[in-house]
């Protein structure tokens, strides 16, 4: 019984670590994506070449 309790707690602890890691990845990923799309919006439009006049 004691061994199986320790095993179950081990599983929960590992699940906790992986779930936290997932949450961190989600947060970081979201920040990076948001920053990238913001930078894209702030970039000046490319100059159009060749003015006929």
């Amino acid at each position: 019984m004691g061994d199986s309790i320790i095993f179950a707690l081990e599983v929960w602890f590992l699940a906790f670590v992986v779930a936290t890691l997932m949450a961190v990845v989600i947060k970081v990923m979201l920040i990076v994506i948001k920053k990238m799309s913001k930078d894209e919006q702030q970039q000046p439009p490319a100059k159009e070449g060749g003015d006929a006049s």
């Binding site: 019984m1 949450a23 989600i26 979201l30 948001k34």
Partner: protein
Amino acid sequence: MSLGYLFPGIGTMFDQTPLIAISRIVLILLGILLVYLGKKGTLEPLIMIPMGFGMAAINAGVLFLPDNDGGQKIGTIFLDPLLTDAGELVDIMQIDWLQPIYTLTFSNGLIACLVFMGIGAISDIGNVMKFPFTSMLIALFAEFGSIATFPIATAMGLDPGAAAAISVVGGADGPMVLFTSLMLAREYFVPITIVAYLYLSLCYGGYPYLCKLLIPKELRGQVMKTSNKMEIKPFEKIIFCVIACTILCLLFPVAAPLFLSFFLGNAIKESGVLSYIKLLEEVFLYTATFFLGLLLGVLCEASTLLKPEILILLVLGILALLLSGIGGIIGGYIVYFMNRKQFNVTIGIAGVSCVPSTAKVAQKAAKAANKRVVILHYAMGASICGVITSAIITGLYVTMLK
């Protein structure tokens, strides 16, 4: 010719032991009851109606069949779940009409993956991305049953594989239970799967009472102020899906088919390819759910179910779900206090996965306390994280015990 041979469904009852004959009658009546409760909405109709029909039909449609020695045996022409010999399987697939579906989709987990693709296609992961820590925390607490049942099951005499398989019922995810029992406890595959799906439908009926019992009315009816108004674009969701899928497959290759199915379904939803969305939502999900229900019913044959260990599994299955429900609500209370009482505790029950049933249960319980409260999107976030944590725990059990 005796009447027993003319009507073998009845005749076989006199040829079997009284216990099996009585169990057949009880299971026929139970099947009819499940159809009624499914139609009434007390239990999940999508599973219960085909399951009830299957249960009633398999226990009624028993007949005398020729056996290999030229004698007679009692059986059905639905399917034989205990066959493993390849030659016999090919033979029986030409006789038992559900055997091909059972062998080629159910016992290899394909049907679970199809259900997961469909679930992915109806889930919105936007709220998981907005509130990843809160959703994950609730989902982790809602795995209490999957963890606490394991030592209880081993103390009751089950081997670690079977104990893990029945504990995963606490994650309230049918496909995960199917997968764990296939990997770790093949001999209990049929009873554990039946117990799991029977109880998952009970979640729908039982969890509202658990919410009422453990959460006061004013907390159930609490209106939440949205603190995060960030908009998540479909493109961002697709990127999340592919990265999360890759990381989880990398960490738990044994559960990779389930991760792939769920995230692929979700990415297809966000991609907006209508023909694929229709295929997953309307064809895969409903076809797989229908056959899952029918096969589960057909597997409830008296002679298959009448084993002493089934009683232990029945007790452990309901214990796992009860503990997970309580754990989810405790998680809800913890987030409530962490957010300075600006959180609806009822969302905790949605952490017990079972997408989208528990999220609907949370919304229903909250609305019963206060008609203005809308928590469904938060609840869906917790529920989807419940799928992820269930998959993580399944992966851990399978990796550590196999």
